[in-house]
């Protein structure tokens, strides 16, 4: 297995820039997610790693070797597509041994290898079955098996679970992650589903309009979003934005929202003009003592918790609170915030203002 390093990679299709100068590193053995909405450049980035597209500029290193201009066949990676294509006229075993035999491996060695991999996947009992009669999950396992037998340097997966229904998808994502934990293979996985990225990934790259917005562990990206785009794309419901106009001084620990002083992490740069106070729903609390108030517009009961939509002078926000607390639509409530969790943004650029939180000092 191998490390994959992307350096200043850029891809243009005619006038259209699909990927703007991007750099990040996938460490050996990592389960790495490329996350973003459709058209953000994530699939193009994956295809450049695979050699299915050539970068306009920049370098791609797989296991230390620069492969940017090499064809896919010389990169020794395995690509798993959203629609798993199997040879319909071959049985499961032949589908899996095909890549080995075409590389010139002997039949007996190939058979042994296929059996080993089939056991990892739990499909060793169906090697003689026709692929046409298989369930969606088993077909997916066979397609994975065909990628695994070759022992490639890395697996590249383009929304491999995208075509499955929700319940089965959850099951397969757990299986895929468990398989990865057993094999420790470097895996790059493209998805537009933020929850899938959070649940499965060791690291996430969030892309938008061909730009890498942020790169980090799921919890870091969730807790310390670098941009408003990331804050809004990750989380369900996403981060709420309260808008205010004012100025933030370096080293200040408070901001003023509608005349009320509210604590925030110590700020490490100054900013003024149109600013945004970003808070995640679980960091909002109802408190009669607080003079910062809002009106409950909607309540959504979820069993363990409930989500409130609250209208404030600075915009609507969501709060996740215990469902044991009874609240009514139309009620006016006081609000407090977990001051350690707040991120301030510059509304015009969308960038987070540097603070002890996102500098990793708290």
């Amino acid at each position: 297995m191998a490390q994959i390093r992307i350096e200043n990679v850029r891809k243009e299709f005619g006038d259209f820039t699909a990927v703007q100068s991007s750099s990040f590193t996938v460490e050996d053995g990592e389960f790495f997610m490329l996350l973003g909405p459709s058209g953000c450049g994530k699939t193009t980035t994956l295809r450049m790693m695979a050699g299915l597209e050539l970068p306009t500029s920049g370098e791609i290193y797989i296991g230390g070797e620069e492969v940017g201009m090499k064809p896919a066949s010389q990169r020794d990676i395995a690509f798993v597509f959203q629609m798993f294509a199997l040879y319909p006229h071959m049985n499961v075993g032949k589908n899996m041994s095909y890549p080995l035999l075409s590389q010139g491996m002997s039949r007996s060695d190939a058979k042994k290898r296929v059996y080993e991999v089939a056991k990892i996947l739990g499909i060793e009992n169906m090697l003689n079955k026709s692929v046409s009669g298989l369930s969606g999950g088993d077909r997916q396992r066979v397609a994975l098996g065909r990628a695994i037998v070759r022992e490639p340097k890395a697996f590249l997966m383009d929304e491999p679970l995208g075509a499955l229904d929700a319940e089965f998808r959850e099951y397969m994502s757990e299986e895929l992650r468990a398989l990865h934990d057993r094999m420790g293979a470097t895996t790059v996985y493209v998805t537009h589903d933020q929850l899938e990225a959070m649940q499965m990934g060791d690291k996430i790259v969030v892309m938008n309009h061909g730009v890498v917005e942020q790169f980090g562990t799921p919890q870091d990206i969730y807790d310390k979003p670098a941009t408003m785009f990331v804050a809004d794309f990750i989380g369900s419901p996403p981060m709420s934005f309260l808008h205010f106009e004012g100025s933030v001084l370096e080293n200040s620990k408070t901001v003023k929202l509608s005349g009320q002083t509210i604590e925030v992490p110590t700020q490490r740069e100054s900013a003024q003009g149109k600013l945004v106070f970003g808070v995640r729903p679980e960091h909002v609390k109802l408190s009669d003592q607080s003079a910062f108030r809002g009106e409950i517009l909607a309540t959504e009961y979820l069993g363990t918790s409930q989500i409130l939509t609250i209208k404030t002078m600075n915009g609507d926000l969501k709060a996740r609170i215990s469902s044991a607390k009874r609240v009514n639509v139309g009620e006016i409530v006081g609000l407090t915030f977990n001051e350690k969790s707040i991120t301030l943004f510059n509304e015009v650029s969308g960038a987070a203002i540097r603070s002890d939180l996102n500098l990793g000092r708290i």
Binding site: R177, M198, Y222, Y301, L302
Partner: protein
Amino acid sequence: MADVELRNVTKSFGKEIGIDTISLKIKDGDFVVLLGPTGAGKTTTLRCIAGLEKPESGEILIDGLSVIDDSPAQRDVAMVFQQYSLYPHLSVRENLEFPLKSPILNTPADIMKQKVNEVAEVLRISHKLDNKATELSGGEMQRVSMGRALVRNPRIYLMDEPLSSLDAKLRGDLRIELKRIQAELGATILYVTHDQIEAMTMATQIGVLNNGRLEQFGTPRDIYENPSSLYVATRLGSPRINTLPVSVFGGAPAGATLIGLRPEHIELGSGQDCQVMRIEHLGDQIRLHLQLAGHKITTLIEAHTPIKVGDVIAIQPKNPIFFDANGARIV
């Protein structure tokens, strides 16, 4: 709007049972959600009320009067489907006016205009009234499609998974919007879905269907906190309720064979030792996969809890719920 009642309604399709002696009351102003997987009988129930299917037995009453022999038009109900079928060559306004122009209603022009403007206002599509239907986004099209039902003043709105073809974000927004519209208009709605979040967040009453039978009917809180059966308990709540043999923890009431544990029924710190098998970071919380004496348990803990795979932690039940061998609730 009106009260709608089903009394022992049964409908089968050849040997297939569609719905089996269903009785339920939808009160004026209620937002009732029928929840169940594919084949549970949700859509069949809806179609029986609309008059699109004729039940073999049972009664359907609207405002106390049987409508079983009435045609769909006579029943005066409005239906919204999953696939919004708008007239592509007409503007949004013309699409919304269409139901009002029917020969039965034959609405005068000034009243029609007023109605359409009102509904467009409620649905927040006033600024799109003169656009062609094809120039709208998916969410706007679904709102127009609902608007076409809302311009009428039927006795009940029947909605068949109207949000299921939309993306997650839009679905979330429209859930809140639909509930607001319902409350604002005092509308009576029967809504069917397989999505537990839609049921829990919008309904005043939920009916849980299983194989054509109504398993439980009550408020979302009632159904989540007091499920009448194991089946109902597994339909609501994410992660799904954990069920284990009562022998694992002991202390079960007589007759109980299974203990049901939702995340809030699991207390960490003392009790039985479990092994941490997997950790999923959801952002606001950690979803923890545990193993206890060969049984898998999933629960939720606070996002920044220091924990790793292989750790051993102790858990014990807190106000759990119990079921007998047939899955019936034991109180």
